[in-house]
Symmetry: C2
């Protein structure tokens, strides 16, 4: 079982770093105090921090040393004895749009008369945009139905979204920073990646539809983004990579590489029933290419940067990673395994994202607040 890192609290004690190993939590701060983590520089302070960022900033050598020591550590707690917190202090959050099947479905839904469902630049670069870092929350955080400005029949209206959606994504967490002005090449990009989480990019489709021209998604996405409470380090997942789809036309030199994607099964469940099953291998653009593109203009990476993959959908109907696709924007309500149908989320719905080697992401929809 792949170990994972997070931050936890116990009643009356300070938050600190923990490692989830075979269902139990290693108290890394205690292990450091006991002198068991001598391979990690300044381990006492690093593991007493309230986020993984100081550990992530140390770089691959320290991460590897720590992973090697994990099996020997015995200062463990039961999982139900700890309260997991947001594991990282998010620096910048960038969300990509890297699944071809998702982008094609979105094109078919919103531009049904177009010959080509993909935007003209989609096969040339990993399309992305910046999201709100301050509203990234850990698994388990309730999601209050957001209010916002919507396109109404008689003009714009303000009210609760009627199209609350999820997006099933991988999130890549940056550990080692890069220098401003120095693009990171595809060949060196993975050196900067600390680990992976599942990510639910909650979306209000009606708010998004009204605001998105001319400058892109904003309040339709910024109310909450949930990530797993435990980050899976990259290293043990490297051997889960398989060749991705052949990229045609071949990308420009700064993006060119043999695309390797993660073969990790993923699931979306709604109120306990599975509504979608897909796989991270359906991503077209790789994280190396996302990083090379993101830094091509000299922009720097910081410890704690979070890179969302974009919704991951496969070629089949049941492999769609959001309700926009599953219900074809409400036009084709889908049947719930336990009976009934859904287009978008209702109050009280609980969504769980799960995936091989990754911590689950759970969230319950709460009614809009009367403001």
């Amino acid at each position: 079982v792949t170990p994972r890192f997070g931050v936890f609290r116990r009643e009356g004690e300070p938050a600190r770093v923990g490692a989830l190993v075979e269902g139990r939590v290693v108290d890394m701060a205690a292990a450091a105090r006991a002198g068991r983590l001598t391979g990690v520089p300044d381990a006492g302070a690093v593991f007493s921090a309230e986020s993984l960022n100081p550990f992530m900033a140390l770089g691959r050598e320290a991460w590897s040393a720590c992973l090697e020591r994990l099996p020997e550590l015995d200062a463990t707690l039961a999982l139900d004895e700890v309260e997991p917190l947001l594991p990282i202090e998010v620096a910048d959050y960038v969300d990509f749009y890297s699944s071809r099947h998702h982008a094609e479905n979105a094109g078919r839904i919103f531009r049904p008369d177009a010959d080509e469902p993909l935007p003209p630049n989609w096969r040339s670069l990993p399309v992305g945009y910046h999201g709100r870092a301050g509203t990234v929350v850990p698994s388990g955080t309730p999601i209050v139905r957001p209010q916002g400005q919507l396109r109404g029949g008689g003009g714009p209206e303000h009210g609760p979204t009627r199209a609350l959606d999820i997006e099933l994504e991988l999130g890549f967490v940056i550990g080692s920073p890069s220098r401003r002005g120095q693009p990171v090449g595809v060949g060196e990009a993975l050196e900067h990646v600390f680990g992976l989480v599942l990510l639910n990019d909650w979306s209000a489709r009606d708010i998004q539809a009204w605001e998105t021209v001319p400058l892109g998604p904003f309040l339709g996405k910024s109310f909450a983004t949930s990530i797993g409470a435990w980050v899976t380090p990259l290293e043990p997942l490297l051997d889960r990579r398989v060749p991705g789809e052949v990229q045609a036309p071949p990308p420009l030199d700064y993006l060119r590489t043999e695309p390797l994607v993660f073969d990790l099964g993923l699931e979306v469940s709604l109120n306990g029933a599975t509504v979608a099953r897909t796989n991270a291998r359906h991503l077209y653009w790789t994280v190396e290419q996302q990083i090379a593109h993101l830094t091509a203009n000299g922009a720097s990476l910081r410890t704690g940067d979070l890179l969302g993959s974009g919704t991951i959908s496969g070629p089949e109907r049941e492999e769609r990673g959001c309700f926009l696709e599953l219900s074809w924007n409400g036009a084709e309500p889908f049947e719930l395994p336990g009976g009934g149908t859904r287009t978008y989320l209702e109050d009280g719905d609980e969504v769980v994202l799960s995936g091989e080697g990754l911590a689950e992401v759970r969230g319950v929809v709460q009614p809009a607040v009367n403001t």
Copy 2:
């Protein structure tokens, strides 16, 4: 003269908070140690910090107390004895699009055949998007010409931008945070604003043009955003407000207020010659409305959030706040006061933004790096 706050370093000494008062720098850390700032909680730690954030997080009462004490403080240094640093740790950076003349000019340039230059939602909400917080830099930081993917004659190309631009903006800095799930009303929004800076949202128009559909500006903006090294607190600028343009149609209730804008003259100079003169009163949407909109979906404000106004342009040709407008996207090169013409920026060009009551923002364009 309005006092301003920043962070500075002197050789061999730690960075700390300073106040710029009548051309000299008050060493706020020294003043706190000397017991001269007793109205500010935990002043010793707050003013020994490497950013204004701990001070900004204290809220309006502490800011006012500090402003009252400033005239009595005598631990001053000459401005040329200190190196000003980035004054704030930027949490989230949001850039708006709130000048009607700028948005109309952009519409006329890019959609010359449209009947209405403004996007359909423009008069209903303050259009905005998230930018990259990690590449906000202080005045004086050199700007290396960014490379990126461009639309070439025979398909996409990768190379240095040929359309490097500036954007003259006001930046509003959030001091007091708000709670996730609790929208901030227009009437209480100013309570959260610590102060103002000038902001240059450097832009590569060709990179931006190719990437911007479907998800908005990304690498065309993310390479650098310059802000003034000294933040002007809001309080002494409140009496510079004047009624703004009548908003028609009237905005929805959550955005409705008597719009007050800042009557502050602004200038852009290129290599020492003034190329544009405008005024912050030309903004249509106010910062109160931007904050009310930003938080309407429950998104929280954090200390250090930076809200750009968007390019500020007035009705006249010489009041345009970016070269896109000044040169009509290159179609109408404009004459430099010292001779010659320009469309976009050339290597070696120095741009200075200045404005009443605000610290200047200076930047020199350096050639693209051969990567």
